[in-house]
Point group: C2
DNA sequence: CATAAACTATACTTAATCGGTATTGTTTTA
DNA sequence: TAAAACAATACCGATTAAGTATAGTTTATG
């Protein structure tokens, strides 16, 4: 019931990229040092984010990373799922056979957990990085 | 971001106890076999639930378990927290030093995660075992 | 066109957590 | 006082998380 360390790093890396000027790109090393994220681990995380289109990577000399879309179009859920995969709060919501193995073919627990899971997903989807930027300015 | 197996078992064990007649008590072995939960693991889980007052245990011959309060007074959150401890979705919401270590003294990520965490806790608190009982009858 | 600066891919390692078990002890009824 | 139940604690193996290493690819630039 806790987010991965990688997801936490990802949130902070994407926030960092959200604060760049349009067109600006930065090397992973800069993010790593500024946010205190182990470089090689960050590179791995950035690859997941790139695969999801959240960041765009530029190879070669002068390369680095920038956001792949506008901060307003990136939610916490997007980043979370890019790193951890789809939000799932219980095994019975992943593997349909799981509940049957437990001999509870009509399981009300399963039912309410599915509803809670949906609410949680919506909650993470409510916040985008434009909002987080705004929030930074206030401090 | 996923519930423990132990919590899943706990939900099903408490639901099982919710369906008993008032005054009825059952041995762990009965719950174990009916719900396909490894007995010794279940005993451990039941101890956590007993500590939290969710179930009441009876030692000695003819002993066993019963609910410690009315099903309507036991929420999913109660059971979840009895087994896993308080709901925490990020380390920075456990250890106040954590964020500072990350060199982000005014971190908007921390801020919104705290809000999301609260919503999640409320969501698990919305469902009690009387409701789950009702839901069973419908099937 | 070669070099070096960046990212990519994949595999490996270490540590923590999870899921479960074992052992020994205590309580209680018959 | 024996046996049926739970209690407490410690242990174990497997999985996952977190991070590192190695080898490779892309690209700007001198």
């Amino acid at each position: 019931m806790i987010l991965n360390q990688a997801t936490d790093y990802a949130f902070r890396a994407v926030l960092y990229l959200s604060l760049l000027q349009p067109g600006e790109i930065v090397e992973a090393k800069v993010i790593s040092e500024s946010q205190h994220i182990p470089l090689r681990f960050l590179l791995k995380i950035l690859r997941s984010l790139a695969k999801a289109g959240i960041v765009k990577s530029y190879q070669g000399v002068g390369g680095g990373y920038a956001l792949g879309k506008k901060p307003a179009d990136i939610t916490l859920k997007d980043v979370l799922e890019a790193v951890e995969g789809p939000i799932r709060i219980n095994k019975c919501l992943i593997d349909p056979d799981y509940c049957n193995k437990q001999a509870t073919p009509h399981c009300p627990v399963h039912y309410v957990l599915a509803s809670i899971q949906q609410t949680i997903a919506q909650e993470f989807d409510k916040y985008n990085f434009e909002q987080l930027k705004e929030h930074m300015k206030q401090n």
